[in-house]
Symmetry: none
Amino acid sequence: MTALPLEKARQIIDAAFAKGADLKLKPLGVSVLDAGGHLVAFQRQDGASFLRPQMSAGKAYGALAIGMGSRKVEAFAKERPHLVAGISDVSGGRVLPVVGGVLIRDKAGAIIGAVGISGDTSDNDETAAIAGIEAAGFTADPG
Amino acid sequence: MTALPLEKARQIIDAAFAKGADLKLKPLGVSVLDAGGHLVAFQRQDGASFLRPQMSAGKAYGALAIGMGSRKVEAFAKERPHLVAGISDVSGGRVLPVVGGVLIRDKAGAIIGAVGISGDTSDNDETAAIAGIEAAGFTADPG
Amino acid sequence: MTALPLEKARQIIDAAFAKGADLKLKPLGVSVLDAGGHLVAFQRQDGASFLRPQMSAGKAYGALAIGMGSRKVEAFAKERPHLVAGISDVSGGRVLPVVGGVLIRDKAGAIIGAVGISGDTSDNDETAAIAGIEAAGFTADPG
Amino acid sequence: MTALPLEKARQIIDAAFAKGADLKLKPLGVSVLDAGGHLVAFQRQDGASFLRPQMSAGKAYGALAIGMGSRKVEAFAKERPHLVAGISDVSGGRVLPVVGGVLIRDKAGAIIGAVGISGDTSDNDETAAIAGIEAAGFTADPG
């Protein structure tokens, strides 16, 4: 079952794209996953390369898999590369351990999903993800 | 590069959901793939089960993989099951050989993508896919 | 995040084993999955063969993947084998389309997880799963 | 066939959780594998993220795969990363080469299984695993 309403996922994507336009970012792919790591919505802007679905989802999936934003996942990957490579292995290769996967928390602080963005620099991808989550009324946790 | 504009993919999904509402279908997952078999947009309605992303994309992917709507893919699966099982294998397990994956053709008849829908009966899934494609001004080819 | 409390999953497994003892069933493997298809608890009785983890989880996963108890999944596998083979393919090979995967529904009818059992005949596996779910105060939906 | 009795596996998990409560650890996932690397029992505490089943099992599996506790597996991963990456590859991606996978040895020193824990820091995960194994009357070998 979808824990994160589709209407909210659509708002997140629209606001992330708006932020991308403001900042003149390259074309983005945006994935919104529910708390179980399953896709609720995805959109790829014209000109974004074809692996953006998997790359954006892989950032969000890695964050959910360990319950920390992907800024922490990337830090782990630098400090203990074998740890993060192993997490990706046991997930069936679904993790992209890079900044740009941001947890969505509700008012009570519970994780209800994650947003992953890929297309511009990782820092800019993260900025757009945070903007999307906040526009939908949730708390963004980049790690 | 995306051959099918995101704006068109969004129109297709909105129109498919509108058709689903008209016909009182169960919650749907809708994938729109470009001609290279890569995801342009996906949305999963509240209450649709978690494998709908892969199932809807698998119908569209199978159609694009052989250049025929998934009604033909399902017919092949019945007549020569080893053929379709093999196609799925060599694709890395990305094919769901079932009605509901509809090719998107432009005015000239060229394949520019495919829509896959999963959630209700296969015939109803296909009906919603055709409605979406036609609402966006393209020709639907269900196979 | 775990949607189904561990305490309930433990009750389900204990009650399923009690039912197995009553009916003098063969050693069982019992998987309890949350609504996202992720394992909450598993136990394998002494003498149960080594693939019971995957087999029991595969029954429960297939049920959750399409939102119907695995009695329906097995019926689909008989009527449209290519459909169920395709669902398994797009899931990454995680589906065992056989009786014995039972949805767990709460008072409101929402799916909060599934129990899969493997070890005896499929019908007996299902009987033990239903007993476990009901002992924990939930509604069993075998499909 | 199960070499490690389920009753012992349950004792191990209960004692590991008790240790976790004593030390105020984060929610844990605990896997107990037999000598053949197959799951005997798993439990995931409420709030533990969804990949804990695979992560905890991956620590125990890696330990059993080379016959040394995962503290050694992690040391190898640092010294010769290609070695451990290759071991994970040939296992089908089942290895998490990180502290927290502890071999279970009987009185004679024979390996009868392994415990893997994931949820808190790797050192704390290992402490809980050792506590569980010793509470069940076995010798813990963290590597």
